[in-house]
């Protein structure tokens, strides 16, 4: 009876688990963005010193709870050698956050190329996409409009999915709330084609 009831309890109160990929070139601010998200959404979480964020080797994970949904973040390394690992995560992800360093005009085309390669992948069909123009706190960075212009041929490739662009500063934490909340709404809307990952009840 105890097993029965404790299992029932877990069944009734389990959260819907979703997985969100954070992609982008190296030094775009993915890890900082993840740390900022964790700090803002998890009460009592003392984030790491954002000045000490270094290159991600492998991946960082983060978890936030929004009511009955739980978002798990996979922040993958963005270096060119590590980009070949991205597509291993596509089939199990429920949303994509693509971070662009809008202060780095030289590599914006490279970022665009990686983005195009990612977005046409068939295992990502219909997955909500959030494009972030990061580092808006820096002087002389590209505005959201000009970043949009670079990534403009989006409509044909993006196809049938929720898509949004946003200007953020991961370091200062501007625009983190709005982005994550928008993404959570889209994930819930997309739940028919991408159902939440069920944790097994033991």
């Amino acid at each position: 009876m105890y097993t029965l009831l404790s299992g029932l309890w877990k069944y009734l109160f389990q959260k819907d688990e979703f997985f969100v990929l954070i992609l982008g070139l190296d030094n775009a601010g993915k890890t900082t963005y993840l740390e900022q998200t964790k700090t803002k959404f998890n009460k009592g979480y003392k984030g790491m010193n954002l000045g000490k964020v270094t290159t991600t080797v492998g991946l960082n994970i983060g978890k936030i709870d929004l009511g009955k949904t739980r978002l798990n973040f996979w922040d993958l390394g963005g270096q060119e050698e590590l980009q070949s690992l991205w597509d291993k995560y596509y089939a199990e992800s429920h949303a994509i956050i693509y971070v662009v360093d809008s202060s780095d005009r030289e590599r914006i085309e490279e970022s665009k190329a990686a983005f195009d390669k990612m977005v046409v992948n068939s295992s990502l069909h219909g997955v909500p996409l959030l494009l972030l123009a990061n580092k808006q706190d820096l002087q002389g960075c590209m505005s959201l409009g000009s970043v949009k212009d670079v990534f403009n041929p989006i409509p044909q490739v993006v196809g049938d999915r929720d898509c949004s662009t946003e200007a953020v500063s991961a370091l200062r934490g501007d625009g983190v709330y709005e982005g994550i909340n928008w993404l959570a709404e889209c994930i819930k809307r997309n739940v028919v084609s991408r159902p939440p990952t069920q944790k097994e009840i033991t």
Binding site: M1, T3, L4, G7, Y11, T202
Partner: protein, 176 residues
Amino acid sequence: MLKLFGREWIRKGIRTAASTAMGGQFRSNLWDPVLIVAQIIVLQSSFYLCLGLWIFFLDVIGRFDVSLDQMFTQSDLGLYEDSGRTNIIAYALNSLTCAFILWFVVGRTRQCLDFAATVHIGHFIGCIIFTGHVPQTFWWWMTNIICVALMTVLGEYLCMRSEMKAIPLMGQRVDL
């Protein structure tokens, strides 16, 4: 909720029951409400079946009158009368028998206490329904608590023996 009952629980239940006696197989740890409810029903029924049989045997040997009161009435348990003593012996023997059923039906060491207690809670409710009040005598509580302990300990011992058996990996299809 429909999803819960869509599983192939019969196949799994039979396999669980069969493999516990044999030992040596990986077992699913998933929460399976249908299986658990079925196990509780099986245990409760066999608890009363065995208790009935033991009481009947001891009544025949001791030449007492066979009656349903012996199962459910608190006044029929006690050390001061022959019939009460026989009844306590029947209860004790029953809990040992039920430990074997526990081994066969449940077969998990960590669930033995759970199921043994569940059976006796069921019996407690049965007593309330039959007599219309909560059992109050010292001997009723004493007997039942000792029975839970006996059933759990023997059940755990039996289950542990089969859980400790080596799981063969070679020469057969392994269902991980």
